[in-house]
Amino acid sequence: MPVPTPNLRNRPRGGRYGDIIESIGHTPLIELKRLSPKPGVRIWAKLESRNPTGSVKDRVGRALILDAEEKGLIRPGQTILEPTSGNTGISLAMIAAHKGYKLKVVMPDNVTPERTDLLRMYGAEIVYSEGSKGSNGAVEMALDMAEKDSSVYMPYQYGNEANPNAHYNGTALEILEELDEVSAFVAGLGTGGTLMGNGRRLKEELGDKVKIVAAEPMQGEPVQGLRSLDDGFIPPIIDLSVLDRKIFVTNQDAIIWTRKLLDEEQLFAGVSTGAIARVAMRIAGELDEGNVVFIVADDGSKYFSSGIYTRPLEEIENLDSTVWW
């Protein structure tokens, strides 16, 4: 008779799902003991890379499309158009392909090649915007295209409440199921959805003692191609009052910490997660005790070609002109 081994005991985290879209979410929370700065402060990584297309954006992609269907905003077979440099597009591409919609994405021409491959793999059409304008340029071009073509539907992740709601009704609840106390929640600031959705729910349930902390990319100078400061862009869904701290991270530091996660915890994560972890550790260092939860937004497979996992930092090409996250 086989003797049960405690470490291989089955944990109720699998589940059975009707299709790949239903399987989105339910991601594990992993303790990173080696990164803890002191006893009593526990670091938890929410592994969003475990979603079907490999990123947290699967939650958002699903919410954007289901919300549109519920409101009657989209017809079968219609073309969806969206400005996205990566994960949202990849997620929308998978979901659109599964549901029979066409997808056209607008993205800067200076992203890593794996993003293009993944989009094409799921059948998306890509329109490139000027790399020097970063994501601002992609948003501007997509808005212009949508205005000129009424046959497309643009979910507009930057301004659509379905985005933060995916986290308010999903990610945050999963965290609260696993932890009775959260001292800090740290995530990347892009559209703002992750921070707004999780921030609002966590504050509602745990009060002001949970700190909501944004890790923000410091865009390298080559991608700050603006004519004036008024050319800037703030995603409409962002409400700064939900945040307790907002800290920028340079590309260099983001990459250093991405490597650190791999080297010290064998956690294979993308560059935005390196930045998020860097900020999470700073916040953890300021605490006497408590749980610090941070989001692992995606894994590193889209960044292989850049060499950041295998080469010294000084050999990384286009460090400042690449949109890493």
Binding site: S85, S135, G188, D231
Partner: protein
């Protein structure tokens, strides 16, 4: 005397400098001192009401001052202010 790091879009208004120094006890005082020395920055940094232009982010060392005490955020002599344009936040 705090250091202010200037983004490329604003450098023409400060004689092409990447970094300048300015005096002041808080972020607002320092940015207003900079605007006095470099009048071309005033309309880009401030709105008509004297508040910070919503498309400008100002960081005290690396923290956004809007999430601290805004223009009243205290600044020490060894601190650096970093001015950055609001960008749509990377690859989303």
């Amino acid at each position: 005397m705090a250091t202010i790091r200037i983004p490329p879009v604003l450098r023409p208004a400060v004689g092409g400098e990447r970094e300048i120094n300015a005096d002041g006890e808080n972020v607002g005082d320092i940015l207003r001192a900079m605007a006095v020395d470099h009048p071309g920055t005033e309309s880009q940094l401030f709105g008509a009401d004297g508040d910070l232009n919503r498309y400008v982010n100002v960081y005290l060392n690396d923290e956004d001052v809007r999430v601290l005490d805004g223009l009243d955020t205290a600044v020490g002599t060894a601190d650096t202010l970093v001015i950055l344009p609001a960008m749509a936040g990377g690859a989303r």
